[in-house]
Structure formats: structure tokens, C-alpha cells
């Protein structure tokens, strides 16, 4: 890989608090096939961890387990030290886990701003009365959410498109909207599934800049599943190599990439 | 003791009839992911088809020797199967083909529309008064729940279908009728199972049900498989219609609605998409109804339909896949 520019990896000292997200001996079967076997990992606050491996090695399955989209057949997921034992994806979100998807899953019937604002942790629980009457407090909260939403869109450079539907956005822009939606959760960890897939060079650079700035400003932990090693070289503190549902190697990105190269398993294009 | 036996016999036969209708509904849902609410109408069309063939002057009932009786029955079964299949294929071609891939809700509403249309045509062509096989059959007041129903504030309110009547098949003694029904049912059930589980066409239909794109990738054309499924489903429902009217009489345009709903229940209980499931579900339902009708006190048995639907609700909540069904992934 070219790795031309010197990787200015964000240096944050890793604190001793409980990991924002952890999985121990996670196992998942589909029919006769073990998609994931006894995979364990821990993500301390503020750390950026890259997950690499061939298609079908279990990367997306791991990500779905860590976000509650699917339930493990064995093993346990901990968010902020608390076991989640099969709670709903919404419970994971409220506990501080946000995510994006490999195949874009934005909401077609909502505007871009609505896509971002709908993910905001609504402190006040909905009630029919507030929905219909929309008193002063309700309108105030909506204004506040709109402002925070616009700020996030400004961060990814799409503030002027707030009213548009996702139909007339380019692929890269949609990826950035999905990122803004994940950040709207104000979560302690964001899991990204191939965020740079299909992005051109400057979109990729813009994505990297946003992630680095957010990681440092909000001490936000990131788990990035990605084939493009260049992106991980710039950002990741640690890398994890998954193959055939098992962790083959874990450690500094360079050592993991080196291990992949000399195993003659040239994984990535 | 013999009362129990006859009730079990009746239950089995009623169950097989529900099963035959359920097989068609289940297969169609499997291969086209479509809840064919018009399926009950093919049952009605089959009954009229058999009625029409039985009234042909050259095959008068009862005047010829046993042979004429035999040939009349064979012709009636064939005509009822053919008319059921024909209408089923027509409904697929005209109502479902284009809309099916576009929207599930619209497809369902088209199914309801087709069902109402067939009932209305039935009323206009065959008139509302029920007809039995060319024998005396107690007349029953019948009218259709008109489309706009209570929309008309002033006009006469539509009235509900009364309980179907009992047939006194003069030419065929009750035991004769049940013998014939049993033979035809056995043949139809065996035919359905053989067709789906043993023939190449059956294999193609099952492949399309599981994964249409994968079926196309190995060279199976989905459209002919779907048309054949509709035809077979329609034929089985038609035969059930003929046998139902042979035993219970009351051939009228609305006769398909209630058995149709019962067949949906049977299909869900047995597990939508599996032929054996539909038959098992049908048998279960037939036995349950007949025994409850025979043994429960009079006024309670009035809740028969409610019990059947409650069974449906229970299965939907606890075991939506039914006894033998499997998860229908949206692989298509």
C-alpha cells in the first residue's frame, strides 16, 4: 500500500475506565456454518480500532452483534461495562452505541435534516398530547434539535442540503449524512461498516478529517470495518484481523497488515 | 360408538375439503408471496361448473344404470377442476401479474376486488337463489354484502348469508354420497402430494418458492411455474367445491367466502407454503369443527366460526410458521 503521507495518528492516552464496548467469546451460527467463533475484544474510551479481513470473514456479523441487530448464540456483549444480554438495538443506542451500515440505510421519506434529527436522544418521551398540541416547550426542543442537526450537517459540509431528500445526493454525500446521523446519537462509540467503500479520494479525505476531529474533540471511540488500509493507517490505534470467523491477529495496525501480507493472503483490492 | 365413527368420518371429509382449498392457497403464497383472497371464489366456480355439467340433458342423474352415474361423477370432477383452474389462471393473468411485484398492500386489495367481482358475476349469471344438484334442496334466503355495504343510508341493508342447507340427494343415498366423496377426495389429495413432491414441475415450483432469483439462475422460468401453481390450486379448490355441494348443497355465489377463510386458517396452522402442512391443517380444522358441532351444546356451536378464527389468532401469535412451515425469507 502506498501510505505516502506520514500517518499523524491521534495520540490520546488510553484511560483506565471500563471499555465503552466489549465482546467476550462472541459466537454466531447460520445453519451449519459458524459465522463467528469465540471472538473477544475491548474498546477503551476514545480508541480507534480497525477490523480487517476477507468478505464473509465475520466482520459484519461482529458489528451486528456489538450493536444488538442480532443476538449471539454464545458469549456476551458489554456496553460501558454492563452486560446487554440480548436487548433491542434501541437499548444499545440508548446505552451509547451508534452505527452506520455497509449498504446505505437512510430514511427515503424524510429530509436529510430529519434523517439526522430523528436519531437525537429525545430526552422527553413522546406523548400524543405534545405531538398534537406542540406547546412552547415542544417547539423549543424542536428548534434546539434543528440547530444541533444543522451543526452536524455543517461538520460534514452538507448544511445547504438540509431540506433535500436523499434521492438527489451523490453516493459519497449519502455516506456523510449517515455519519452525521450516527454522530447525532452523541454516543460513546460509533461503529462504521466500510464507510469509505465507493468514495473518491477527496470524499475519503473529508471523511478521515471529520472522524479524527470528532475522535479528539468528543473523545469518541470508533470501530471501523474497512478494506482500505490507507484510511486505517491514518486513524487506527489498533487493528484486528478476522478470518473464517476467528481473530487471527490483533495489535498495532502496521504489524497486523504486515502479517496479512506475508501470509500470501492478499486480501484487499 | 357408531355416532363417533360417523362424526369422525364427516370430520375427515370436511377436513380434506378444507385441506384441498388450503393447498392451493398455500402453494400460491409460497411461489408468489401472495395472499390470494379470491381463492375461495374458485371453490364456488368449481361447484357451479360441476352443477352445469351435471345438468346437461345427456347425463341425467339416476335414470341410467350405475355406469351413467359413474361417468356423470367423472365428468363433474373434471369440469369442476377445469373451471376452477381456468378462473384461477385468468385472475392471475388479469389481476395479479403486474401488481404483484410492485406493492403488497395493493396486491391484497386487488385480491379483495377480484373476489367481490367474481361474487357479483356469480350473482348476475347464476342468480342469488341457491341451487343443489338436480334434487330438492331447501331454499335459503341469500343476498351479497354489497360493495358499499352500509354506505347506502336509505336503501335496504344487505343481509348476511344464512347457514347452508342440508342436501337430500335423492339419487345418491347419504352413504353413497360419502363413499363417492371419500374416493374423489383421496384421489385429489394423493394427486396434489404426488404432483408437488414427485414431479419435475413440482420441484420447479418448490425451487421458485424458496429463492426465485436462484431458480432463474439455474434456468427455471418463474412465470410458467406460477401459472401452473394457480391452475393446480384452482383445480383443487374447484374439486372441493363440487364435493362440498354434493354433500351440503347450497350452490350460490357466496358459498366460497367462509370455506375460503377456513382454508386460510388451515394453511396457516399447517404452515403456509407446505402442501403437507395445508392438508394436516385442513384435517385438524375439519375434525375440530365437526366434533365441536356434534358434541358441544347447541347454542355454543354457534360460536364455531369464532373458535376457528381464535385458533388462527393463537397460531399466528405463538407459531406463525405453523406446524410444518418454515421461515419465508424475502430471498425472492
Amino acid at each position: 500500500m502506498s501510505g505516502a503521507l506520514e500517518p499523524e495518528r491521534p495520540h490520546t492516552e488510553l484511560s483506565h475506565e471500563p471499555p465503552v464496548l466489549a465482546g467476550s467469546r462472541l459466537t454466531k451460527f447460520y445453519g451449519g456454518v459458524a459465522a463467528l467463533e469465540r471472538v473477544s475484544l475491548e474498546i477503551p474510551p476514545g480508541e480507534v480500532i480497525g477490523v480487517v479481513g476477507a468478505n464473509g470473514a465475520g466482520k459484519s456479523t461482529l458489528l451486528n452483534l456489538l450493536t444488538g441487530a442480532i443476538r449471539p448464540d454464545d458469549g456476551e456483549v458489554y456496553v460501558g461495562g454492563r452486560p446487554m444480554n440480548g436487548q433491542s438495538p434501541a437499548a444499545f443506542a440508548h446505552a451509547g452505541v451508534a452505527r452506520t451500515f455497509q449498504k446505505l440505510r437512510l430514511f427515503p421519506s424524510l429530509t436529510i435534516l430529519e434523517n439526522v434529527c430523528v436519531a437525537m436522544p429525545s430526552t422527553e418521551r413522546w406523548s400524543l398530547r405534545s405531538a398534537l398540541l406542540r406547546g412552547r416547550s415542544e417547539v423549543g426542543r424542536e428548534e434546539d434539535e434543528r440547530a444541533r442537526g444543522l451543526a452536524l450537517l455543517r461538520l460534514v459540509g452538507l448544511e445547504d442540503r438540509a431540506k433535500h431528500l436523499i434521492g438527489n445526493l451523490t453516493y459519497g454525500q449519502r455516506r456523510l449524512v449517515e455519519l452525521a446521523r450516527a454522530l447525532a446519537r452523541e454516543a460513546s462509540v460509533v461503529l462504521l461498516d466500510e464507510p469509505a467503500a465507493g468514495m473518491n479520494a477527496n470524499e475519503e479525505r473529508q471523511l478521515c478529517d471529520v472522524l479524527i476531529r470528532i475522535n479528539q474533540a468528543r473523545h469518541l471511540a470508533l470501530l471501523i470495518v474497512e478494506h482500505r488500509w490507507a484510511l486505517l493507517r491514518r486513524m487506527a490505534h489498533r487493528a484486528l484481523w478476522l478470518s473464517d470467523g476467528r481473530v487471527v491477529q490483533e495489535g498495532a495496525p502496521e504489524s497486523v497488515f504486515a502479517a496479512i501480507l506475508d501470509s500470501a493472503g492478499v486480501i484487499t483490492r | 360408538m357408531s355416532y363417533l365413527l360417523t362424526q369422525l368420518g364427516n370430520g375427515l371429509m370436511l377436513g380434506c375439503m378444507y385441506g384441498l382449498i388450503a393447498v392451493g392457497f398455500s402453494l400460491v403464497y409460497g411461489v408468489a408471496r401472495l395472499m390470494n383472497f379470491a381463492h375461495g371464489e374458485f371453490f364456488m366456480v368449481g361447484a357451479y361448473g360441476a352443477l352445469f355439467s351435471a345438468e346437461l340433458p345427456l347425463w341425467r342423474w339416476g335414470n341410467g344404470a350405475g355406469a351413467t352415474m359413474f361417468w356423470t361423477l367423472v365428468i363433474s370432477v373434471l369440469v369442476s377442476a377445469a373451471s376452477g383452474a381456468l378462473v384461477s389462471v385468468l385472475v392471475e393473468r388479469l389481476a395479479y401479474r403486474r401488481i404483484r411485484r410492485v406493492s403488497r398492500t395493493a396486491t391484497f386489495l386487488v385480491a379483495v376486488g377480484a373476489s367481490i367481482l367474481l361474487q357479483q358475476i356469480g350473482f348476475k349469471v347464476f342468480s342469488a337463489s341457491p341451487r343443489g344438484f338436480p334434487d330438492v334442496c331447501t331454499p335459503v334466503v341469500v343476498a351479497a354484502p354489497t360493495l358499499s355495504g352500509w354506505l347506502q343510508p336509505s336503501a335496504g341493508l344487505p343481509c348476511e348469508v344464512a347457514v347452508t342447507s342440508q342436501l337430500q340427494a335423492v339419487a345418491l343415498s347419504p352413504s353413497g354420497t360419502s363413499a363417492v366423496t371419500f374416493v374423489v377426495l383421496a384421489f385429489a389429495v394423493w394427486g396434489a402430494l404426488f404432483f408437488v413432491l414427485r414431479t419435475d414441475t413440482g420441484l420447479a415450483i418448490r425451487a421458485v418458492s424458496i429463492d426465485e432469483k436462484s431458480a432463474r439462475s439455474v434456468g427455471i422460468r418463474p412465470q410458467p411455474a406460477i401459472v401452473i401453481t394457480f391452475a393446480v390450486g384452482g383445480a383443487l379448490a374447484g374439486i372441493a367445491g363440487f364435493l362440498w355441494s354434493l354433500r351440503y348443497g347450497g350452490v350460490q355465489p357466496l358459498m366460497g367466502f367462509i370455506p375460503g377463510v377456513k382454508a386460510f386458517v388451515a394453511a396457516v396452522i399447517g404452515g403456509v407454503g407446505s402442501v403437507t402442512g395445508a392438508l394436516v391443517g385442513g384435517l385438524l380444522l375439519g375434525l375440530l369443527e365437526t366434533l365441536s358441532f356434534a358434541y358441544l351444546p347447541g347454542e355454543v356451536s354457534g360460536y364455531r366460526d369464532a373458535v376457528t378464527l381464535l385458533l388462527l389468532l393463537v397460531f399466528l401469535l405463538i407459531r406463525p410458521l405453523g406446524l410444518l412451515g418454515r421461515q419465508f425469507g424475502e430471498a425472492a
Binding site: A93, L110, W126, E138 | I99, L309
Partner: protein, 311 residues
């Protein structure tokens, strides 16, 4: 002249009852994305509750008592329907698409079958509703009819406005997100149980309200009024109206006008053979026309097919 006014006012009441009923279905199907075939069950609950309470009216009671009982019967009707709605929120979370449709259909048909078999509720023949508003005839009928029409139109407008506002509120946006992509919405923290609870309450409540008004105005309720076909027709209006409140109102108006028109031989224009045939084949023509309309515009007359909105 009075006859024409009577005809118009009567149909105006039935039209607004239908709009309120359809507004309830817009919330269930359009916002909550529930493929419902049992909403006529909620309306039946509303109607029979109203009829039951109306029977408590002592003959010749004072108008104040009548008004109080009227209000009580409406509240009871809506409350009963809401209870029915809450009953269905549990299964609605677990069941998807077609199976939810069958479950709601079973719910409504069980209800109707029970009503049809209990003598206390009038069984097959149904119940007469001692209408609390004196059924004056002749000259006094028009003002009464006028107040009824005014009240029902106001309620219909209120229902449509409420559904519209719900659609635009934060709760409405969350409901639409859940309908577009449930897993993605839940991964963003949208708890669909609470959202479904609210939308079922409002949807079932509106259907119950329609039931109450229908009971009081038509003076008679019977199981046949809440059949499977009536429910499917209202879902059809919602689909043709593009699952939006305003669109549905237009669809209701158009089809209602069509239905009346066919019945009155195109308002008297076609007399003789063709007219009779028209009336005779009315339901067949309407069914055929609606199939064609759906085939042409499956997501609503106004929404282009590209804009899929499907639960």
C-alpha cells in the same frame, strides 16, 4: 327542495363518518405502517358501546340527560376501541406484514362472530339505537339533521387536522422512519413499542369515534355493517390517497360520489335499459374500476410509483 337538502345533509354525515374512520386507518397504516385488515373491528366496538349506553335512555328523559348520555356513549365507544387497539400492539411488534394482516382480520372477524351469536347484542338482526336526538319528522327534521351534519363535518375536519399534525410532529417523523427501515430506526434509538402504542391508541380511537357517530345517526347497528369488505374498502381509500390524510379524504369523496352516481343512474341522466344495467352491475363495475385504479397507481393516485411508501 327540502328533500334535496335532506339527501345532501344525510350523505354529508355519512361522508364525514367515513372520513373519520379513514383518518384512523391513515394513522394505523400510513404512519405506524401496520398492514391492518381489522380496523372495522374497532369501529364495531365504538358503535356497540354507543348503542349499549344509548339504551339506558329512559323514555321521555330530559334533553340534558340525553346530551350527557350522548357524550358518555361517545367516550365509552372511543375508550372501548382504544382498549381493542392496545390489545393488538403486543402482537404487532412480533408479526410482520402478511401475518399481521391475518391477525387483525382474525381479531375483527372474531369480534363480529361473537356479536352475531350473542342475543344480548341483538345477534344477527343487530340493535336499534334509541337515538338521543329526537327523530323529528317533517319540518323539524332539517334543523336536527343540520346540527348532526355540522357536528360530524367539524369532527371529520378535526380528525384530518390532527392526523396531519401528528404526521409532521417529531413522533410522526419517528413513525415514518420506523416504517421506512425498522432496523436502522431502532439502531438509532427509536423505541417502536412506545410509538406503536401511541399510534394504535389514536388510530383505534378514531375508528371507534366513527362507530359512535354511525350508531347514533343511522339508528341501527348490526354485524353486517362491520364486515370484512367494508374494512378493505377503507384501506383502499387510504392506499389510493397515498397514505396521507388529505389524499385519503379526496379518495373517499371520489369513490363515494362514484358509488352514489352509479346508484342513481348517473344522477338521473341515464334512464331506461342502460340505467338499470348500471344499477344492477354497480358493485361489479366499482370493483373492476378500483382494481384498474390500483394497478395503475399502486401507491396512491397522486404519488408517482417511484416514491414507494410501503410498510
Amino acid at each position: 327542495m327540502a328533500l334535496l337538502a335532506d339527501y345532501i345533509l344525510t350523505h354529508l354525515v355519512y361522508l364525514s363518518i367515513l372520513v373519520i374512520f379513514a383518518a384512523g386507518v391513515v394513522v394505523l397504516y400510513g404512519l405506524a405502517g401496520v398492514f391492518t385488515l381489522g380496523h372495522q373491528g374497532f369501529m364495531a366496538i365504538g358503535a356497540y358501546f354507543a348503542a349499549g349506553i344509548a339504551c339506558l335512555m329512559p323514555a321521555g328523559g330530559s334533553p340534558i340527560l340525553a346530551a350527557a348520555l350522548l357524550v358518555a356513549s361517545v367516550i365509552a365507544g372511543v375508550g372501548g376501541a382504544v382498549a381493542g387497539g392496545l390489545l393488538l400492539t403486543g402482537p404487532s411488534v412480533r408479526l410482520r406484514g402478511d401475518y399481521m394482516a391475518l391477525a387483525t382480520l382474525a381479531f375483527a372477524e372474531i369480534l363480529v362472530a361473537l356479536i352475531r351469536n350473542t342475543e344480548a347484542l341483538g345477534g344477527m338482526r343487530g340493535l336499534d339505537v334509541a337515538s338521543l336526538l329526537p327523530r323529528a319528522s317533517g319540518s323539524a327534521r332539517l334543523p336536527i339533521l343540520g346540527t348532526y351534519a355540522l357536528a360530524s363535518v367539524a369532527m371529520a375536519a378535526g380528525a384530518v387536522l390532527a392526523v396531519q399534525r401528528l404526521g409532521r410532529s417529531r413522533l410522526g417523523i419517528a413513525l415514518r422512519a420506523l416504517r421506512d427501515d425498522e432496523l436502522a430506526a431502532r439502531s438509532m434509538g427509536l423505541e417502536n413499542r412506545r410509538a406503536r402504542l401511541i399510534s394504535f391508541t389514536m388510530g383505534a380511537g378514531l375508528c371507534g369515534l366513527a362507530g359512535c357517530l354511525y350508531a347514533h345517526f343511522s339508528g341501527h347497528v348490526s354485524p353486517r355493517d362491520f364486515g370484512f369488505v367494508q374494512g378493505a374498502m377503507v384501506l383502499l381509500y387510504v392506499v389510493l390517497g397515498g397514505s396521507t390524510a388529505v389524499g385519503t379524504v379526496c379518495a373517499v369523496a371520489v369513490v363515494y360520489f362514484l358509488d352514489e352516481g352509479l346508484k342513481l343512474r348517473c344522477f338521473g341522466l341515464l334512464t331506461g335499459g342502460l340505467g338499470d344495467a348500471l344499477v344492477n352491475w354497480k358493485d361489479a363495475i366499482l370493483a373492476g374500476l378500483l382494481i384498474a385504479l390500483l394497478a395503475w397507481r399502486p401507491y396512491g393516485l397522486l404519488t408517482a410509483n417511484r416514491l414507494r411508501s410501503e410498510p
